[in-house]
Amino acid sequence: MTKNIKSITNPKLKLEILTPEEISKIHDATLWIIEKVGVRFPSERALDIWAANGAMVDRDRKIVKVKGELIDSAMKKCPPAYLLGARDPNQDLPLDGNHVFVGTDGCGVEVIDINTGLRRTSKLDDIRDIARIADATEEVAFHWVPVSAQDTPIETRGLYEIKSIWENSTKHVQTESIYKESEAKAAIEMAAIIAGSKESLRKRPVLSLMQCTAPPLGHDGGSLDAALLAAEAGIPTGFMTMAACLTTGPATLAGTLAVGNAEVIAGTALLQLAYPGAPVFYAAAQTASDLRTGAYTGGGPEDFLFGAATNVLSNFYNIPLSMGSFATGAKEPNWQAGIENSLSTFMASIVMSDMLLGVGFLHGSRIWSYAEMMMDCEIFSIIHKTMQGIVVDDESLALDVIAKVGPSGNFLTQKHTRQHMHDLFLPEFMDRRPYNEWESKKDGACDWALSKARNILAEHQPDPLDPKISMEFNKIIKSLQA
């Protein structure tokens, strides 16, 4: 096991959500979309690369139409497996198709303050605190930038954010909030300092980059330029589609899968054409828009199905997947949050999605809650346990023990029980107390989860980052400020 990191591996449970025929139908539809409808690439550099490779490029509309063969041959250059490096090499994460890792969710704008319980605008110190707690929490394998550091300068905000995480945790950092060439360049420089050199960064990339697409069928110019820089440096890069039924995708799930797939695959192929063999991943968080408001829902049966179907697609292209799970639309940790986060994470886990994003948010990834973070971690632990399935062998059938106890006895005093009792899951936040005890205290999961987070924050001392490195980071950041 990786140091202080829990991951799902060698699962016993399986699910066939799409047949091979259905997958190839979605793939064909995707190629048709890219060739006939086209995808928008508002970056001169990206358009040049497409043009040089023989794609049809409309410079005015910045729309590229690409033949299926070119997409297919580019996608074959993607490495199927690689490592996400961590500041502590014992926490490197193999993206090999046989591990499911969870990260903190990202892009939040508000935080429920860990001390006052009041909701307020997110700031840099919140990133520090969340990173420290995540560092100590075994369910969290890597970081996204959890919330926006809204008290830092805009042009270097993304750099302050990753600096803060590296200063407070030894685990891998994946940023989703760097979408400009200048910031990406500086971030890569910072990552190379942590890794020791540009070459070692390539071998053990301590940073990965996630870029959002602009659905339907578009990309953001800054994101494309940042992604190309990252791919050049060997930093794992993924494009995330958040295509949503009704608004940015068709009302039907298959159609929305195809639209999102076209965005991701076209972007990924571009990186492979520019830098063959660059480490890439598929990223997705498709959903269905709310029928009444059109809003992002953050949960529901459509999300659960997308969660399982997308890994089938990324497996088809033989690249790792970073999948949106958790991220409930609920306003507080409650029934809705429990259902949405459990089912979305279960469905994405049962197909072995490599990375799951992520723990900690309410209101569709907008409001950070420390209690929700800890409860999400327990949800992952429950699924982790469930995925191990039921072992059937002589030891687990325990016939000799059954015979020994016989009718009307009990198993509490058996040696076999002592040997295996810790195989059973012991929840931290489920209330299994006698009713009377609950009635006298009226406390529960939220209280316990919050107090766990508070204790970690008070007590956990992460392995510090060399202050000299922090100084160098400051210099890099300052050099970018006007």
Binding site: T121, I154, A214, S289, L291, R292, G294, R366
Partner: protein
Amino acid sequence: MSEELFKKMAQSIIDGDSEAALMLAKDSIRDNINPLDAITKGFVVGVNTVGAAFGRGEAFLPELVMAGEAMKAAVSVLDPELKKRGTERKMLGKVVIATVEGDIHEIGKSLVATMLGASGFEVFDLGVDTPSDKIIGKALEVNADIIAMSALLTTTMVKQREVIEELEKEGLRHKVKVMVGGAPVTRDWVTAIGADGFSEDAIGAVAIAKQFMGVE
């Protein structure tokens, strides 16, 4: 005769059928029906029907948007005819709407624009990545009652503040109401930048705009 046509007009909106609405509007001009009547006795009845069904939870957002689009199609034919006759449709107010500079995420903004248009506002949609001075310039040009701005990123959201600051600097702030929206926009942000209102969805945005204009 025209009663029958008015009914068909309302139905074309209820069905969200832009092509039918366009044809019916053209028919009404051919038959020399007062374009103002075509709008108020025909098409608007359809908009109100869908709006009421939405309010009761019986119609859904796509139906509302399609009704708005069909209304837009009809009005595109009838408005020039109104001008020719020297009359004007009474609008609730003028709205300049845009996604701010540096931001290309416009689906929410476009939804708000459609809903405002369907609700009787005159809407000037400047699209995405719109510099602050362009937003203000357009508002001055058309003598807008409302400026509406969207942003999806915390790094572009600050442009909403910039527009308000510019308006203040130019002494224009009192002339126009400002409403903002987008996923990262919170009540705290709205208070901090001194905007007049915000909404988390398109329906709410129409309510705020109407409130600004003192209707309903």
